[in-house]
């Protein structure tokens, strides 16, 4: 299930049936769950798309589900469905990071717009994650010396200074730099330095989510 999917959680069977039919007719994949607990039990980090959840459910509420996902580090975009007038709870959901909220009964155009937007956000998240992990993989391929040269270049040092610092010849520095640029698939020094900085940030941040 790595294709973008709308994961619909609602304790009302008719709403699950009707909304999933409408969503699939609009060209999106839909997957339904009768409770938040059921969703959490089978959730797979590889799932892409967005979560569409009711707020008021007999067991775990929509807010509880949102909180639980956040605690697990899941960044699947959340769209909440509210009964009309329950603006307060919707506001809390938005404050907790929900992408949007929809009032029941939902109009199909608005529904699809909101869901598409949520899916796009998820895709962007995913692309960014992918890039990060690629960068991390490329940086991992560098040897310790190549890494040192990259960091010192990033700090703005000249080849001669780097050679002095590492007690090697300027010529050797050139060799390391060329090999490093090849491994990182970069054509310019500026690109190399940006990638190095990205990698630095990725290392400083904790483990990537998922």
């Amino acid at each position: 299930m790595t294709d973008p999917t709308v994961f619909l959680v609602d304790d009302d069977a008719s709403i699950r049936d009707a909304l999933s039919l409408l969503i699939s007719l609009k060209g999106l994949r839909a997957s339904v769950f009768s409770s938040a607990e059921n969703f959490l039990a089978v959730y797979d980090p590889a799932w892409r798309g967005c979560l569409l959840t009711d707020l008021k459910m007999s067991g775990m509420s929509g807010l509880d589900l949102q909180k639980s996902l956040r605690e697990r580090g899941v960044d699947l975009p959340v769209v909440v469905l509210t009964a009309h007038g329950d603006v307060t709870t919707a506001r809390v959901a938005l404050k907790n990071g929900a992408v949007d909220f929809l009032e029941k009964p939902v109009d199909d155009d608005v529904l699809i717009d909101v869901l598409m937007n949520a899916i796009r956000i998820d895709a962007e998240h995913h692309k960014l994650d992918e890039q990060r992990s690629q960068v991390a993989a490329r940086l991992d391929a560098l040897t310790a010396r190549e890494r040192e040269v990259l960091d010192l270049l990033g700090a703005g040092m000249q080849h001669k200074q780097i050679a002095e610092r590492l007690a090697i010849s300027a010529r050797t520095v050139e060799v390391y730099k060329a090999r490093m640029m090849q491994k990182l698939q970069c054509r310019s020094l500026a690109e190399v330095i940006r990638l190095g900085a990205d990698g630095q940030r990725a290392r400083e941040n904790s483990e990537p989510p998922g």
């Binding site: 709403i15 009707a18 909304l19 039919l21 007719l25 008021k56 329950d86 009964p105």
Partner: protein, 541 residues
């Protein structure tokens, strides 16, 4: 100043009118209305106007009584009178008795103080004349008694009358409303007087007690002002009789009769007034209780309607959402065949719009009942608990149950909507009383407690009933869930909605002290700021 001049004129006029059958040489008459006029003047205008009263006394002594005593004696006597009336007025003001006489205690104080002051005046005044040789010493005792009764009569009648007459429109309306009864009573008084004076002088005294009948009747019927008028009528009758030369009994007997009549009228009138005011207070309190009951019932009905609308809107909105989605899906599915029947798609679209409209109606219905904003007012918890428990007195009596109220001392004032809090407490106590209905008679107990935790106010309603069955506790606060045959199942749902709207919580546990259910209202002392403006919210979650 105008008032002082009017007083002076009135003084001289009444003195001249009542100057009948002077006894001895110092001008003593059966009753001295001008004495009552003097006291009323000092009570209304203030004690500092004493010089005017002294002046009035001197002028009347010289002009009307033709007192031939030396000027210094007359002036001294007048000053003595003025001094004592000023003292009496100050004492009455100190007792806050300067206005109407409303209570039996007030009447008794007025009577006692007036008797003492007039006795002192009489003793001093007569003593003055005896000391200066104007009156023979053997006449002194007789003179004191007569002078005393005369002044006391005047004070007992005229002062209350004038003080009551300060608010004229009321008695006037009174007269026009009840003229038949009043006319009958006046006729009664006149008849009694005629009977008495028609008799020979020797028998008159024996029939004087007849006069008590109309006086008591009138006092009982019309309280103090009526009683005063009755005695006044009798006094005027006696004066007229004396003036027209009808032979009347001995001077001192007449005076004594008048003092007794006046005292009776005053005390009886005061008691009746007190009772009438007590009854009026009680009626007002009952009226207030009924009004607050009615207000509570009204607010409760509104809350029930709100909860009903809210629950209905929520329950109907779910299928409505499904209908709208199915219809939108049907529109998409119909697209290929709509070529043959072009009305199909527009029909489906219209159906969906109608379903959305129905949903809008539900929303408006619920919003209407949510309209009122919860008030933020200062609530005295102790007073609120007392007010709520008062409304249950009758119901508790019928159920044979007791309700104990236990408020922790020193609870801080609480910000919230008092009516909403009353609704919640009312609902919880109604449930508690229903719960203990089938308990043993001796153990039908309900307790209302209020206590404070650091930032929270806790209100508990506990009962000695069977408690909440475990299978019922899960859906206890859901609307339309009830264990009562005639219940709607909204009381607890409404209560929880109201408490949650204020940022609090309503929970149910087992009572540790009474063994039955214990419902705890927990309210933060500082209400959160970002609460919705609604009074009710959907209770299900």
């Amino acid at each position: 100043m105008l008032f002082a001049a009017a007083y002076l004129l009135l003084y001289l006029a009444t003195d001249w009118l009542s100057y009948v059958r002077p006894a001895l040489t110092v001008g003593i008459t059966p009753w001295n209305p001008e004495a009552g006029l003097t006291l009323a003047f000092l009570l209304i205008q203030g004690v500092r106007w004493v010089p005017v009263t002294v002046l009035a006394t001197v002028i009347s002594e010289v002009l009307i009584h033709g007192n031939a005593a030396p000027g210094v004696v007359v002036l001294g006597g007048a000053m003595w009178i003025g001094l004592l009336y000023a003292g009496l007025a100050a004492l009455l003001q100190h007792w806050r008795q300067a206005g109407h006489i409303r209570t039996a205690l007030g009447g008794a104080r007025f009577l006692g103080a007036a008797a003492a002051a007039t006795l002192a005046i009489a003793a001093g005044y007569i003593g003055f004349f005896v000391a200066t040789g104007e009156l023979a010493p053997e006449e002194a005792l007789r003179g004191i008694a007569r002078y005393w009764f005369g002044d006391l009569n005047g004070v007992l009648m005229v002062t209350p009358l004038l003080l009551h007459s300060l608010n004229w429109p009321q008695p006037l309306r009174f007269l026009t409303d009840h003229w038949r009864g009043i006319l009958a009573q006046i006729a009664f008084v006149l008849l009694t007087l005629l009977i008495i004076f028609w008799l020979p002088a020797a028998d008159q005294l024996r029939f004087f007690y007849l006069l008590f009948v109309p006086v008591i009747w009138i006092a009982w019927r019309w309280s103090l002002p009526g009683a005063i008028f009755a005695v006044l009528a009798i006094q005027i009758g006696l004066i007229v009789a004396a003036r027209t030369g009808i032979h009347t009994p001995r001077f001192i007997d007449l005076q004594f009769l008048l003092v007794t009549l006046s005292s009776t009228a005053l005390l009886l009138g005061a008691v009746v007034t007190e009772r009438a005011e007590e009854a009026a207070d009680r009626r007002r309190a009952e009226e207030q209780l009924r009004e607050s009951d009615a207000a509570l019932a009204r607010a409760m009905r509104f809350a029930v309607a709100g909860e009903l609308a809210s629950a209905l809107a929520h329950e109907l909105n779910q299928p409505m959402t499904a209908v709208v989605s199915y219809l939108r899906a049907a529109e998409i599915l119909a697209a290929p065949v709509a070529v043959k029947e072009e009305r199909l798609q527009s029909t489906l679209s219209k159906a969906a719009e109608e379903a959305i409209r129905a949903s809008e109606v539900l929303r408006r219905l619920r919003d209407f009942y949510r309209g009122g904003e919860a008030k933020r007012e200062r609530i005295d918890i102790e007073e609120t608990c007392a007010a709520v428990s008062r409304t249950f007195q009758e119901r508790l009596r019928r159920a044979g149950a007791t309700l104990s109220v236990d408020i922790e001392p020193g609870l801080p004032a609480f910000q919230g909507d008092r009516m909403q809090l009353e609704i919640v407490l009312h609902n919880l106590i109604v449930n508690a009383i229903d719960a203990i209905r089938h308990s043993e008679g001796s153990s039908r107990r309900v307790a209302l407690r209020a206590a404070r935790r650091p930032d929270t106010l806790i209100l508990r309603v506990e009962d000695s009933g069977p408690g909440i069955a475990p299978e019922a506790s899960a859906s206890l606060f859901e609307p339309f869930v009830t264990s009562k045959p005639d219940g709607m199942g909204l009381g607890l749902a409404i209560s929880r909605s109201l408490i949650r709207a204020r940022g609090g919580e309503l929970i149910c546990t087992r009572s540790e002290t009474l063994g039955g259910a214990c419902f705890s209202v927990e309210l933060p002392l500082e209400p959160p700021n970002d609460l919705p403006a609604h009074t009710t919210r959907i209770a299900t979650s």
